[in-house]
């Protein structure tokens, strides 16, 4: 088993110059009307495009919905979903919900941290992996659970973590 067998759906890592960011953001904004209620959906779509919220993108969005930049920043930092720095190509989320906690999620997290060499919330220097913890995926009956990109992996063991994240398989 390896990540490639679990899921093909990786994120694109985008670190583009200001101009391409603005062009892409404007393309996204074209389908919105500019109401304040659209702020969160816009941020979600922009984040999906870049993997995070580039600073220039947030400025452009602030103009578009006609709110101060600090309001956009305030919303972006309030919700756990939004990232202000680029994330890795693969996003590994370890569940820290109650069901998982009782079934030993902390050992799954420790093992993942050990293999990837990063802590919760960090990204590997090669931008391959970002490790996150999430409050609950709602797959508690299959605890402990880990989500690799978009794929929920249930009944995890430290051995299964090793198999999925075996980096030698990847390249």
């Amino acid at each position: 088993m390896s990540i490639a067998e679990v899921t093909q759906n990786t994120h694109t890592v985008v670190q583009k110059d200001e101009e391409t960011v603005t062009t892409r953001v404007d393309e996204i904004l074209a389908s919105y009307t500019g109401g304040k209620a659209e702020l969160i959906p816009i941020l979600q779509q922009v984040q999906q495009a870049f993997g995070y919220l580039p600073e220039e993108a947030m400025s452009r969005i602030a103009q578009f919905v006609d709110v101060p930049e600090c309001t956009v920043f305030g919303v972006a930092t309030f919700y756990a979903q939004f990232k202000l720095v680029p994330t890795g190509r693969n996003i590994i989320k370890v569940c820290r919900g109650t069901g998982c906690y009782v079934k030993g999620a902390s050992r799954i997290l420790e093992e993942t941290e050990k293999i990837l060499g990063i802590k919760d919330g960090e990204t590997t220097p090669d931008l391959e992996y970002t490790l996150e913890t999430v409050a609950c995926f709602g797959s508690c009956a299959l605890a402990p659970v880990m989500v690799v990109n978009d794929k929920v992996c249930g009944r995890m063991t430290t051995d299964k973590v090793k198999k999925i994240l075996d980096r030698k398989d990847q390249h």
């Binding site: 009782v102 409050a135 709602g138 508690c140 299959l142």
Partner: protein, 636 residues
């Protein structure tokens, strides 16, 4: 098209499917099913059917609630009852296709149970199994039975009949019917639904909104996800009924982004409703108009709170505000708004289909109907269950859940998530309803039910919940923002062996301050896990504080590992596996853990062969073990 025509078409499709000459195979592909490997099973199934040239209809259904048995498949051969097979692997799936579909061996050894008319020798009826017998499925009525992406399946099973009836009634009559049913909000607080509707109905204003709260944030709870994935129309029909009764023309479903499949199912359902004339300007020709929007949450637990949820829909930081004014007077964009949770809406559609009297015949005097729970943690049969209110806790944990695995003892059951509490064994024979759980210091909550055995440390559990609430506190009011932080700091001290004698009293005092002083329910209920663990498991707190001992051997700072010199055979496996190189030894030498190097990861305990079982985990005891390796046998 009017409703009669839609219904007729749905019925004829459904009957054609039931009476088909082809075998029907239902496979659970909710999030749980997929996580357990349902996609591999589906692939094998398709391949095997192809290889054996068998024609069959494969229907992907939602969760039937037997999560412990996922992946789960039901095979319905023409003229036979459906047979359920659980815990499938691709190999078993292939074997069943070969033996039951090409030949006639239904494999009673692998079957869980049957459903529908007729019996098969050696296989029990599914709904007679202890896991299902005490259950009454109302909110979950269609989950696992129908294809959630086909509105006709829902309609053929009584769907939208309630709505079609409602459109002939006066709004006040609808509200009265909901009042009579005794339904109380299933999101946690248990406020009477009919009364809530009445307030919003009576509020002046032409523009009103209704909202479905699908921001199921409690860790350990997944009832709403299962309903939305398995039977989205049950919720949507409820919302239409509510909108009609209150006089709302627009509605929002606020759903957390962590549930992508549920969102996808909702989008499909909305498209189909529009095609059938169940959304839009003139619903079923009645003149009633209604539009629905999906709003994806962005990851904030506090948005489960009504006023924070509305702020989030409006595009702001999801921070609660003080009430009054209540949403019924001033909600979304200052207009009267009614918010109910997913399960409440799914119950509404059932009540209007079958009547308030029928619904009120289940449950207790003050808690009518049924409640879904996600039964997880240290219990044999984890899953999604729905039981009549008032059922004894013991029947849930030992009857439906099958008791505690590995011969361990029950210690506690946690209900209501971070807002609820941990109840001890003394509560096992009490009924599960709003009043009884509240008097025990917990809440019914949205329906998380996490069972814990002797391996769970209750102080650590309290610390776990406080970590969560402290992180999710929005920071608006000081009692919650600083109170939860202070409580967490004290709990951290206790679990790391730095607790002081006065800590329990200090915690209790803080709990009261946070409870009384917080603006919203997040802070108001955050102390519950601490209060209940102190109330029922005070001895564990005391052991941590005065003896520096963790009785459940969980708190790392208070446990240590050593190698029993009489059992160690010097195989060296532990020394090789130890990530901290903290184990000294040698061939045929009794190994020794260097305590100052040990990081207490437990790897040695895991890898020590079961036939030796030489590694011992302990807390608060003085350990007699050699400090240097000695030859095996020299100790005896």
């Amino acid at each position: 098209m009017n409703f009669e025509e839609i219904k007729k078409q749905a019925m004829s499709n459904w009957e054609a499917m039931q009476n088909s000459e082809k075998t029907r195979i239902l496979i659970g592909t909710g999030t749980c099913g997929i996580a357990a490997g349902a996609e591999d099973i589906l692939k094998t199934l398709r391949e095997e059917l192809g290889k054996n040239s068998i024609e069959a209809d494969i229907i992907q259904v939602g969760c039937i609630g037997l999560c412990y048995a996922e992946p789960l498949v039901e095979i319905v051969k023409p003229g036979m009852p459906g047979v359920f097979y659980g815990n499938l692997t691709p190999e078993l799936m292939a074997e069943i296709v070969r033996d039951y579909l090409t030949a006639d061996n239904p494999h009673p050894d692998l079957a869980l149970g049957t459903r529908g008319e007729g019996t098969i020798n050696g296989i029990p009826r599914l709904f007679d199994l202890p896991v299902l017998k005490p259950q009454v499925r109302i909110a979950l009525r269609n989950c696992g039975n129908i294809d959630p992406t086909d509105i006709h399946h829902y309609i053929a099973n009584g769907g939208y009949e309630g709505l079609s009836e409602v459109l002939r009634m006066k709004p006040q009559e609808v509200i009265d019917e909901v009042k009579k049913s005794g339904l109380r909000g299933r999101g946690g607080a248990g406020f009477p639904t009919g009364l809530k509707w009445q307030f919003c109905h009576d509020s002046p204003g032409t523009q009103k909104y209704i909202v479905c709260n699908a921001d199921e944030g409690d860790p350990g709870a997944f009832m709403d996800r299962a309903v939305l994935e398995g039977d989205p129309h049950a919720v949507l029909e409820g919302m239409l009924i509510g909108a009609y009764a209150i006089g709302a023309s627009e509605g929002y479903i606020y759903i957390r982004a962590e549930y992508p499949l549920a969102i996808q199912r909702l989008r499909t359902a909305l498209e189909q409703m529009e095609k059938c004339g169940l959304l839009g300007e003139n619903i079923l020709g009645s003149g009633f108009k209604f539009q629905l929007h999906i709003k994806e949450g962005a990851g904030a637990f506090v948005c489960g709170e009504e006023t924070a949820l509305m702020a989030s829909i409006e595009g702001s930081r999801g921070m609660p505000r003080s009430r009054p004014p209540f949403p019924a007077q001033s909600g979304l964009w200052g207009k009267p708004t009614n918010i109910n949770n997913v399960e409440t809406w799914a119950n509404v559609s059932a009540i209007l289909q079958k009547g308030s009297g029928w619904y009120a015949s289940y449950g207790t005097e003050k808690s009518k109907g049924t409640k879904t729970f996600s039964l997880v943690g240290k219990v044999m049969r984890t899953g999604l269950i729905e039981v009549p209110m008032g059922i004894p806790m013991r029947e849930i944990i030992y009857g439906i859940g099958g008791g505690i695995p590995d011969g361990k003892n029950f210690k506690a059951v946690q209900t209501g998530g971070p807002s609820g509490g941990c109840l001890s064994a003394s509560f096992l024979d009490s009924p599960v309803d709003y009043e009884s759980l509240a008097s025990a210091g917990s809440i019914v909550g949205s329906g998380g039910m996490v069972v814990m055995d002797e391996d769970s440390c209750m102080v650590d559990v309290a610390r776990y919940f406080l970590t969560f609430t402290q992180l999710e506190s929005c920071g608006k009011c000081i009692p919650c923002r600083w109170g939860t932080k202070q409580m967490l700091d004290i709990l951290e001290d206790i679990v790391t062996g730095n607790g002081r004698d006065s800590d329990i009293e200090l915690l209790l005092e803080l709990c009261q301050a946070v409870k009384n002083g917080s603006l919203c329910a997040l802070g108001g209920t955050a102390p519950n896990p601490v209060l209940t663990t102190i109330r029922y498991f005070r001895d564990e707190y005391e052991a941590h504080i005065s003896e520096k001992r963790c009785p459940a051997l969980v708190c790392k700072a208070l446990v240590s590992y050593y190698i029993d010199s009489e059992k160690c055979q010097g195989c060296g496996i532990c020394a090789r596996a130890c990530p901290a190189e903290a184990i000294k030894g040698g061939k045929r030498m009794v190994h020794v853990i260097e305590q100052d190097k040990c990081i207490k990861c437990g790897t040695c305990l895991d890898v020590c062969p079961a036939k030796f079982s030489a590694v011992v985990k302990t807390s608060g005891e003085s350990v007699v073990a050699p400090t240097e390796p000695v030859p095996v046998g020299s100790q005896a």
